[in-house]
């Protein structure tokens, strides 16, 4: 197409491109990008319809609302993980880090008896601190992200147990706390607050990732860390903040899960990191870094929870459920690959 126009305007210098060309392919590039997300959204819809046919109860508003609710914790962890993974890193500490932050909330609210807002803040800050430490280890001490966050995973697990005295902390003295996640603030709507917290967090994460400096540097570090550094960006410092940001979401997840369970469970959380990473990767973010989106992650997290819930509601025996989830994930990602099929030299 471009050649046609340039032939028509044969008189101009061959280097200069007619301006309308740019606009045109601008559109094409964008269209392709949003198509991809539409298609991922498509698989999600297909799954929902499929389960709805297999068991109409799946489509009841109450069940759909429950699925949304069950997406929240992994979803929040996955939001943070999206940033880290786009930088080309990984964060294994999100699961137990979440437990640790929920224990911190427990200590603040139940042991110290401070007001609710303090507990929420303490949890989020504790998460940010975990992220900050990850960031320092990775940026300044140059420890590979896998190792740094694996170590943090273990340390957080241990500290959660130590601080809580290896037992759950209950929030019975702070009755408002469980409303944070489970209250229904919008009258007439059965969707609980936690879902809105997640979607607001997702919108914020999306804006930060696509519109701000830290978001832009997240991509550029993941694309080419050395080139970014040589471009005069303080890569170490930004990376530290990116991990801190990711930790903030971990902290938020800790607050939400504590509220949902009305207790801080120090022993749980291991294994959540893989689920969070899976949501991110199913959402199209590459573990190689440089590419990814929050919308994708949200869709990825929803695919996971729809699958889990759907297989349960159609009464697939539990041992077959994991076989089915594994297979469907493969299929979804394979279809995704198919349409992205770019040329390869392999």
């Amino acid at each position: 197409m471009s050649t046609t126009t340039s032939v028509e305007n044969g008189s101009r210098s061959p280097l200069a491109k007619p301006p309308q060309n740019r606009k045109e392919s601008d559109l094409m590039v964008r269209a392709r990008a949003s198509m991809q997300q539409l298609m991922a959204f498509g698989s999600l819809i297909v799954l929902v319809i499929l389960f709805g046919i297999l068991n109409p109860l799946f489509l009841t508003p109450s069940n759909l609302s429950d699925i949304l609710l069950s997406t929240v914790v992994i979803g929040l962890l996955a939001l943070g993980a999206t940033f880290v993974i786009i930088t080309g890193g990984i964060d294994l500490s999100v699961g137990t880090g979440m437990s640790l932050t929920s224990v911190i909330v427990g200590v603040t609210l139940t042991y110290m008896g401070l007001p609710l807002a303090f507990g929420v803040l303490a949890g989020i800050l504790a998460g940010a601190l975990i992220g900050l430490i990850n960031g320092v280890l990775i940026s300044y001490l140059r420890i590979p992200p896998f190792i740094a966050t694996l170590a943090m995973m273990m340390v957080a697990q241990g500290l959660a147990l130590v601080i809580s005295g290896t037992k759950p902390i209950y929030f019975n003295d702070t009755p408002g706390f469980s409303q944070l996640a489970l209250g229904k603030s919008i009258p007439g709507l059965i969707i609980p607050n936690a879902v809105f917290i997640f979607f607001i967090a997702a919108v914020i994460a999306g804006v930060v990732l696509s519109k701000t400096l830290i978001g832009r540097y997240t991509y550029s570090i993941g694309s080419n860390e050395q080139a970014t550094a040589l471009s005069g960006i303080n890569v170490r410092r930004w990376k530290m903040w990116i991990y801190t940001l990711a930790g903030t979401f971990t902290g938020l997840a800790g607050v939400v899960i504590a509220s949902r369970l009305n207790s801080a469970q120090p022993g749980q959380g291991a294994g959540y990191e893989l689920q969070a990473i899976a949501a991110v990767v199913i959402g199209g973010t590459s573990l190689q870094g440089g590419k990814g989106s929050i919308v994708g992650t949200v869709i990825g997290a929803l695919i996971m929870s729809v699958l889990t819930s759907g297989l349960r509601i159609i009464n697939v025996p539990q041992e077959w459920q994991s076989v089915a989830i594994g297979s469907v994930i493969l299929l979804a990602v394979y279809l995704d690959m198919l349409r992205r099929k770019d040329k390869s030299t392999g």
């Binding site: 429950d66 069950s70 914790v73 759950p168 899960i257 369970l261 469970q265 509601i313 539990q318």
Partner: protein, 306 residues
């Protein structure tokens, strides 16, 4: 109280289908849970109800269990069976069940709530004390022993540890528990763990394993170190490997619960509650000490599973 809901049961049966009972346990892969499931299925056939049985992958994952309970509730069951990992965390679901007039049967572990119409469970603390009593006898009332536990945070893990250690503290001051360590119920991990404990405590006289995986791990350790007969092993639960170990003398004995009975009683109570019949509030499914001497007794055998 034991008020039940004839409506719910009627609604389910009126369509000519069997009433549906959703059962969410604490685990799934352990033989223990498979036996509970077997008992539940047996009762389901006998009492004409439909059941599903599922549980989280690990007995730590409170949140996963809550999701399972939530999905179960979406299926509008006629009754709900639950072995809560954390009864407080399950409170909103129990409240929901109550609001919808769905009778709840607790099993395996009690629930801190008035909502369940019945509880079919083992008294884990008492069972662990029974194990302690036998351990004390077997090692002659004094010496060093250790505990390999399956979990640090779950109620069953804590109760079986504490029931044991408290009994020792109260009754046998000369017995010293040198360490309590946790192997997550993983056999390999527990075996490695037990070997380290034995290597690090040359005067050790006995080890107590708090569930099937832990106990077998300890047996493995003793076997691999060639200490059969020199170290007293007491365990918890059954399963083929434990029974073999008891027969061969590697293990002195163990406390078994009645998992099949737990499952059976749970569904039986559910079926009754659906029909609006009164059910017993506490169904003690009991526990038994078994060793080489009584392992083949009919009464014991009924409580063991392979």
């Amino acid at each position: 109280d034991t008020s039940t809901t004839p409506d719910a049961g009627a609604a389910a049966t009126s369509e000519g289908q069997k009433p549906y009972v959703a059962i969410v346990s604490k685990g799934f892969q352990h033989q223990f849970w498979q036996s509970v499931k077997a008992g539940a299925e047996q009762a389901a056939t006998e009492y004409g109800v439909e059941i599903t049985f599922e549980g989280p992958n690990t007995e730590k994952d409170v949140a996963q269990q809550i999701e399972m309970l939530t999905t179960a509730m979406s299926k509008s069951p006629a009754a709900l069976g639950i072995a809560a990992l954390d009864s407080q965390a399950a409170t909103p679901i129990l409240d929901d069940a109550k609001a919808k007039n769905i009778p709840v049967i607790a099993f395996d572990s009690g629930v801190d709530s008035a909502i369940p119409v019945a509880t079919a469970a083992t008294d884990n603390k008492a069972a662990a004390a029974e194990a302690a009593k036998h351990m004390a006898e077997l090692i002659g009332g004094s010496g060093e022993i250790a505990v390999v536990a399956h979990d640090q945070t779950s109620t069953s893990g804590k109760d079986r540890r504490d029931g044991f250690t408290e009994y020792m503290a109260a009754n046998h001051p000369d017995i010293k528990i040198v360490t309590v360590q946790y192997g997550g119920g993983d056999q390999l991990e527990s075996a490695n763990l037990a070997k380290t404990i034995i290597n690090g405590n040359p005067n050790l006289k006995g080890i107590y394993g708090t569930n099937e995986g832990s106990a077998i791990g300890v047996v493995k350790a003793v076997e691999e170190l060639g200490l059969k007969g020199k170290l007293t092993v007491v365990g918890f639960d059954s399963g083929k490997a434990q029974m073999d170990a008891i027969r061969s003398g590697l293990m002195a004995g163990a406390v078994t619960q009645n998992p099949v009975g737990i499952g059976y009683e749970t569904v039986k109570a559910a079926a009754a509650a659906i029909k609006g019949e009164t059910v017993e509030k506490v169904i003690d499914t009991g526990f038994y000490w078994y060793d080489a001497k009584n392992i083949d007794d009919a009464k014991i055998k009924a409580n063991l599973y392979e």
